[in-house]
Amino acid sequence: MTQVLGNKHMTATPATRVLGVVALVAVLLMALLGLVVSPADVVQGQAVRMLYLHVPSIWIAYGAFVVTSLSSALFLVRSSRRPDGGRHYDRLAGSAAEVGVVFTGITLATGMLWGRVTWGTYWQWDARLTTTVLLFVTYLGYLALRRLPADPRTRGRRAAVMALISFVNVPIVHFSVDWWRTLHQKASLSVGRRPEITGEMYWTLLYSTLAVTIVAIWLIVHRYRVIRLEEMRDEEALEALIASRLKEDDVQA
């Protein structure tokens, strides 16, 4: 990520080219496994195939938001030591959050379609869906906050504080809503418990998680680079403005 950006493709480096190809192959394999090779479910039928996208998406989203929070914490620490310190953490926080929002959206969309087939309705006010919607809107708000004009340090600090508070809030929201509702299908995979889906479906799900993770990493890296480019451009523009002002002063003097 700290390499000099290449000439031909602004956000590409040899390493991420390889990553991109790997992601591509992984995804095609995921499609093959998920849509063709793995069996239909006894109860849910073909609809189970939706879960191979739905479940990994929300896991990756959670992971991305964790990255955002950790990055934000590190940013606050770094920026209090050096005024221009830690900006890479701020960029990482922002890119991870955006990717997280995209995957949360996919989670909701696939979840709703799955629900339509299995429950008969697009929406249920159960714990999982409700907290996911709140998560989605929370980080949409975070992205909105990041977009507001301010010098990078101010904006970064404000966003970082928000990211941390939001993160602390997630378990509170989760607990509250969960306690309020308990309709959603119990977690198929959780630490220490025997998974409810077994055999080929289980492995397809795990593999899909891997494939989606690779895609997410590719997206985060490239988004990060774009943010960096934008910051460079803004700084150049500012310097140019200052330089022209100085020249004006010289001419007038």
């Binding site: 809107v137 507001l148 600090r157 602390v168 809030n169 309020w180």
Partner: protein, 222 residues
């Protein structure tokens, strides 16, 4: 620190007292919202009775958000934020003081809303202790969260639209808890009112701790 906080709260309340915005503008608005809900539910008495607990908190949310906006507009319009930052009043005191100010204003609002739902929605208050505790807990949580997030959006030109967007997801558990607790207090349902109330106090405590820790960071910018 507490003394400074009280100074801040007194200042805010004095501003409020002179302008009478809470009683004059926001409380009537909140009552209006209760009326509008009746329109929305086609004056279905049963629905309104069942929903009274929740509708109450929606009205509090609406009115309270306006009060929070105002609390920070008052600071930034005259450049007061700069004055605060340069004064000796520490960020934590500012946070506590503003929260206290908002708390009292929202309580004022709720003193109008409780009779409001009792009269308009024909509900009976079965458990006054629970109701008042829930109201206090919810208002506390609302106040500290509101001040914290209000500061985050303060000084921004889009704050009026951004603040609600940021605030509501955070307050979702409070709304949830408040509604359920009130429903129990109003005799609409028979469960867990005190647990929900405790949850609101916990949320208030957590956000107070966060606010004390991070308010300094938020004030440092312009």
């Amino acid at each position: 620190m507490l003394r400074e906080a009280l100074l801040v709260a007194r200042k805010d309340l004095r501003v409020e007292w002179r302008s009478k915005v809470t009683l004059g503008h926001v409380a009537p608005l909140a009552l209006l919202i209760l009326v509008v809900f009746a329109f929305a539910f086609d004056a279905n008495a049963r629905l309104l009775e069942l929903g009274a607990g929740g509708l109450y908190w929606v009205a509090v949310l609406f009115g309270g958000t306006l009060l929070i906006q105002r609390a920070f507009d008052v600071e930034t319009e005259d450049g007061n934020f700069d004055a605060f930052r340069m004064s000796a009043i520490g960020a934590p005191s500012l946070f506590l003081g503003k929260s206290l100010g908002i708390f009292l204003q929202v309580v004022l609002l709720e003193m109008v809303l409780v009779p409001g739902i009792a009269l308009l929605y024909n509900v009976r208050i079965e458990n006054w202790v629970l109701l008042l505790s829930a109201a206090v807990g919810g208002t506390l949580a609302f106040s500290v969260c509101g001040v914290l997030w209000g500061a985050m959006a303060a000084g921004l030109r889009v704050r009026a639209t951004l603040l609600p967007l940021l605030l509501v997801p955070v307050l979702a558990p409070v709304l949830l808890a408040g509604s359920r607790a009130f429903e129990t207090a109003l005799g609409v349902r028979a469960e867990a009112g005190w647990t929900w109330t405790s949850l609101m106090f916990v949320i208030a405590a957590v956000h107070t701790a966060i606010g004390l820790g991070t308010f300094g960071f938020l004030l440092e910018e312009g």
